[in-house]
Amino acid sequence: MSAELTFKDFETSQEVRWCPGCGDYAILKSVQRTLAEVGAKPESTVFISGIGCSSRFPYYMNAYGFHTIHGRAPAVATGLKLANPGLDVWVVTGDGDGLSIGGNHMLHTLRRNVGLKVLLFNNEIYGLTKGQYSPTSRPGTRSPTTPLGSTDTPLSAGLFALGAGARFIARAVDTDKTRLEPVLKAVHAYNGTAFVELFQNCIVYNDQIFGSFTDKTKTVDGQLHVQHGAPLVFGEGGSKGLRFVQQRMQLEVVDTENHADEILQHDETSPVLAQLLLGMQTPEFPMALGVIHRRSEQSFEDKFYANHPTGLTRTARVQDVINSRNTWRVE
């Protein structure tokens, strides 16, 4: 495999079985392209998923793949990463898989900073089981279990991750490959838990739920693409920006021209800024996309190996250990 890889090298023979028009297709392609571009090796790349439409992902990737059980992918992946930290381990999950039944494993994975690349396909619905509302569904979501509209308060995936202590939080839109692929590259390069919320359209059960910022006519005013060190501006030609109102401890949208020096710069290391950006709701605010939060910190497995007295290698013989303590001899 000396020749350069293309995305085709990451395709499998399996027929892709998502609904026509599902956002999953676009993400699959972007991942395949990104892996080819960064020169990942299929044999040292592993995709671990739970259960859900999105969790079928591993079948379509020519890499090692494990389609585990509902909600448990981060736990399986943690075990794998401890056994072999040299692998690139990706976790593919959904809003139900990763935040409902699997919320606890996600929480502790993020807290520990296990070196996993977590792609959370958030379509705000349980796709595979035919469209019940999920913990990220908006209030009022009509579904087979909420025929009159849901009333639960949704979870913000980003704020949840921040509260869990995530060091890397990013967001991207399924079909926007020019923005998605750089995020995937950053994920690939990161060595702790890289948590990415992907806004993924479920054309069957929750079509256009992200329309307020993904609709062609809305992207310019509806999306803010953050870049560390760059001003937090959006809109036509960067005409709008964000400033911080200390009195209320809140963000505000202002026009860039008149408030040039008040516009915030993006600082991906600031938890406060992350909280503000992740908490922005459309249409009042744009949706913050890109790498919103990134701090460098030793990964769980690095600590594990560094603190393990022998780096998990066998340096003694069982016989010697058995014989070493408080023994006596009978002749």
Partner: protein
């Protein structure tokens, strides 16, 4: 007191009295002197109950002597009671005429009240029928260390060594090994070394000098008839930990132990964390589900993934175990059983998770199940479990329990040279044009184990999962016939385990006859003793002990068929009885004990004799009972 074959000693006191330490040192000294033994630690359910309360009593019981000693003994013949609560709790257990050594300093009105004594039992006649030795243990300890510059609390803490000194005299044991132990244990604090040595010697001297004119006289124990070799005392969980590490060495793989604390399983975790140098890693997960899944992930990555818990935690793992069955991933699941249902009796022992182990998963999801019979046996079972997991690419369940976890006995140290390496299924070489993807699914025709192809291996990328897959390609398949084949393959795989394991032997007695007593797991000790006693007095009875609970050994049916009657004692409501009936259709007599306590040998003797009513050769003697001191 003359020479005795064996004796049961119980030391009881508050958690802070150093009872466990004292017990284990006493046993160490006895071991050096050639006694066989089995010990059992009886911990209070509370972390640190109020001083002096009955529910705060911590006890250490040891049965020692000529052996084979296989239980920690029914009725203690010697009790050391550090306080009234210890006496209150232990008295009902004692053999008639037992010797009770009392720390009189603790028999204050307050302590008596806390223990629930309305009056001092020494005065009510409650202790008639026992021999009582009253010693001011606390007081004499303080005196012994008086010239050292110690706080009163620190000084008082030496009393366990004072009492140990006394016991060592009674049993005619050397002080030297204990002195060595003290020197090591307190090496950071010279003063404590001195104090404990002083207390030890003072207690010893006290017993030896005229001050002790009455009992205890010396106890002379027959030495045990040990096979030559190297020994050490070890609990089941220590041995199990070493067995797992040994399996790692034999397979030349790292061992990743993924667990979430729970009583009594945690002790395994605590032991394994100290075996790093053997290539063992520990992952304390957020819960049992994560622990099981992480172990699966570890095995997927080529390490030996082991997970462990007790019943309620195992319940949480059952979905994940099903995944390992479906994806054919090796995994060892250890269940340290405890009393149930639900939270139940966490500190008490029980064998009631056999149903769960054999049947407790959704769908037809067979899993091999093994159970060690004794602390020493834990070593063999750990190695066997890993061997089975790797050969058949399957999860394997080990059923141990609270008793085995905490019980110690002399362990004849194994020679690693006696164990064959653990093989795993290597992927065949990829021939040109072959389908690398399906190689992970080319199962061995006998064991049905598939090659263990781990991520990182070039060209053999494939996908695993919990959905049904084609039996040849490993691709997803909804096909009707394929599902039937795969279900059959999974059943055959587990059935094939029996082909590789040793046939069932009889533990004691002939391999056919009037009555077979059939057990499994930690009841080995009491059943063995009971059968031995009865055989010694001429009863025609055999003991069969099953280590391999699923699948049963291939010859088990014919072996059991050779007995006219089968008695099955279990610490549950009859789970092995159900399995034996279901599998072989034999009539069996269940003997169920769910008290949270191991069987008493005497009770077993009675129960077994009741199954032998017309036995010809029977002298109508009462149940043999140890002569009291």
């Amino acid at each position: 007191m003359g020479e005795r074959e064996s004796i049961v000693l119980r030391i009881a006191g508050d958690s802070g009295d150093g009872v466990q330490l004292m017990g284990s040192q006493f046993v160490a000294s006895s071991a050096y002197a050639g006694s066989d033994f089995t010990t059992f630690q009886d911990f209070p359910a509370e972390i640190r109950a109020p001083l002096g309360s009955t529910f705060g009593v911590s006890a250490y019981q040891v049965n020692l002597g000529a052996g084979p000693i296989t239980t920690s003994g029914d009725d203690p013949q010697v009790l050391v009671a550090f306080n009234p609560a210890a006496l209150k709790v232990s008295r009902p257990l004692l053999a008639e005429g037992a010797l009770i050594i009392i720390n009189t300093n603790s028999f204050t009105r307050r302590n008596l009240a806390k223990a629930g004594f309305e009056k001092d039992p020494r005065e009510t006649g409650e202790l008639d029928g026992y021999r009582v030795l009253e010693v001011e243990i606390s007081q004499r300890t303080l005196e012994a260390v008086a010239d050292l510059d110690l706080t009163k609390t620190s000084a008082g803490r030496c009393k366990n060594f004072w009492a140990l000194g006394l016991l060592l005299w009674m049993f005619d044991r050397e002080l030297t090994p204990i002195e060595g132990y003290i020197a090591g244990k307190f090496k950071k604090n010279k003063l404590l070394v001195k104090a404990n040595l002083a207390a030890l010697r003072a207690g010893n001297a006290y017993a030896e000098t005229a001050e002790l004119s009455a009992p205890p006289q010396r106890v002379e124990l027959q030495a045990a008839d040990f096979a030559p070799g190297q020994y050490r005392g070890a609990t089941g969980s220590e041995v199990l930990a070493l067995g797992l590490a040994a399996a790692g060495e034999l397979a030349d793989r790292r061992l990743l132990f993924c667990s979430y604390p729970i009583t009594p399983a945690s002790s395994l975790l605590h032991h394994l964390v100290r075996l790093s140098q053997l290539g063992v890693g520990i992952f304390q997960a957020e819960d049992e589900i994560a622990a099981a899944c992480a172990a699966i992930g570890a095995s997927y990555g080529g390490a030996i993934g082991v997970t462990s818990s007790s019943g309620p935690g195992i319940a949480l793992k059952t979905e994940a175990i099903g995944l390992a069955v479906s994806a054919e991933i090796p995994l060892v699941v250890i269940n340290s059983q405890r009393g149930g249902p639900a939270t139940g009796l966490p500190t008490k022992t029980e064998q009631s998770d056999l149903y769960q182990a054999v049947f407790g998963r959704n769908a037809d999801t067979p899993v091999p199940v093994l159970a060690p019979a004794s602390p020493s046996d834990c070593f063999e079972v750990a190695i066997e479990a890993v061997r089975v997991a790797l050969r058949h690419m399957t999860p394997v369940i080990i059923l141990t329990d609270g008793y085995l976890t905490n019980a110690a006995e002399p362990w004849a140290l194994p020679d690693m040279g006696d164990y064959a390496p653990i093989e795993c299924n290597q992927p065949p070489l990829l021939t040109a044009g072959a389908d690398g993807e399906s190689i992970a699914f080319q199962r061995d025709p006998v064991s049905f184990g598939r090659p263990w192809v781990v991520p990182g291996t070039p060209e053999l990328m494939h996908r695993l999962g919990g959905l049904e897959t084609n039996i040849e390609t490993g691709h997803l398949s909804n096909n009707a016939e394929n599902h039937q084949h795969m279900s059959q393959m999974r059943a055959d795989k587990v059935a094939s385990v029996a082909k590789f394991l040793a046939p069932q032997k009889v533990a004691l007695g002939p391999d056919q006859g009037e009555l077979g007593v059939v057990g499994w797991g930690s009841t080995y000790g009491p059943i063995y003793q009971a059968v031995r006693r009865l055989r010694d007095t001429g009863y025609p009875v055999s003991h069969v002990h099953i280590r391999q609970l699923n699948p049963f050994p291939e010859n088990l049916e014919s072996l059991l068929a050779g007995f006219d009657r089968l008695l099955i004692p279990e610490m549950n409501m009859g789970q092995l009885s159900t399995l034996i009936r279901a599998r072989f259709g034999f009539e069996v007599v269940p003997l169920n004990n769910v008290t949270g306590q191991p069987f008493r040998v005497a009770d077993l003797v009675d129960a077994i004799r009741a199954q032998l009513p017309q036995s010809s050769s029977e002298p109508d003697t009462p149940t043999p009972r140890e002569a009291s001191l």
